[in-house]
Subunit: 203 residues, 2 copies
């Protein structure tokens, strides 16, 4: 099937949102934990977290500042720190429910039943049920004028990982901790390993 740009432009807005959100392929599923200076906690599922670099360890994400993620963005700017918690198969419904439009004083932890925990003296809350999580310090944010989104770049600080997932070469077996992937706006997937391939060389 060939859909021209004009045809896509003329699609119903909701149909188009599902379609375009499917094009990038599988996405990461992460919960962003934040807290404002008054101690109000917030938790938001984000499918746009991406690896930015390992030297230094940096992580990026795209936030729509006027969406349901607005409190997350405000808290990150206010506190300068946040946590990233991978979503696993056991907490998919609760993780998804964080995308409902709660008020700022309503904590998604309370609303969804996920458990806030504080680790290693870090001021933003982690998700106790997540099996791979890390603390992050805001390094910079850039307004992307092209569509009003914000690119948020953070420095990875401390890692909290279930022992059994970490392999000898540093690779983390995400399947051992049931990490899920997202496709489109609302589809959740478990995975099955096909292969690990060696560093590619010219033959």
């Amino acid at each position: 099937m060939h859909l021209t740009q004009d045809a896509v432009t003329n699609l119903d807005q909701r149909f188009r949102a599902h379609l375009i959100n499917s094009l990038s392929g599988f996405k990461s599923a992460n919960l962003i934990g934040t807290q404002d200076t008054e101690g109000n906690t917030n938790l938001a599922i984000v499918s746009s977290v991406f690896h930015l670099g390992a030297h230094p360890p940096l992580i990026g994400m795209i936030i729509r500042p006027h969406s349901v993620a607005r409190h997350t963005f405000e808290n990150i700017l206010e506190a300068g720190c946040y946590t990233i918690n991978q979503v696993n198969t056991e907490i998919v419904p609760q993780a998804h429910q964080t995308s409902a439009r709660y008020e700022k004083h309503e904590s998604e932890f309370n609303a969804t039943g996920l458990t806030a925990e504080y680790l290693a003296g870090f001021s933003a809350p982690f998700v106790a049920e997540s099996r791979l999580k890390y603390s992050v310090r805001l390094r910079e944010h850039q307004h992307l004028a092209i569509n009003g989104t914000e690119l948020v770049i953070g420095e990875i600080l401390d890692l909290h990982i279930e022992d059994k997932a970490l392999q000898e070469d540093g690779f983390i077996d995400l399947e051992a901790i049931n990490t899920v992937a997202i496709s489109g706006l609302d589809s959740y997937h478990s995975t099955q390993k096909l292969t690990r391939l060696p560093y590619a060389k010219k033959t």
Copy 2:
């Protein structure tokens, strides 16, 4: 297991690369097709393609301009256009092999056996074996001084999708076309659908 920032900093560089690349969760697997003005084609696997927005349809990716993806970045700047082709289970080894360090005059299409095809008059090559692909026009690129990477933002033009994958509401069933996910630097995964969840509302 708790790994402090200092502990991570002191890890062996290769170990750290595997570790940090695992933290974001599952990544998309896409082949970027480009062509310079002399007609040299290039194909590069990229795990950093991400959804940026549906209105207008925009797609982002992170490129390390001095890495093996340098020709891809040069061609995008030169030609202003590229294709994005989802990787499926049938072409994982060939897709991975595009990450070897070929010279600019060596086409990864020839080197890997993937087939270049030209669709709907678009000047950059598609991957015939890919079952979901689209043409993209460069809109902007930003140098991220924090680690020397480039954020490349493109406008999604025409879509080429296998009919059977497109569902009634616009959602694309990526499993119907065997799209794979990546974890870490080198691990490839098929997926199994867990659930699609309705738009979340406060209860």
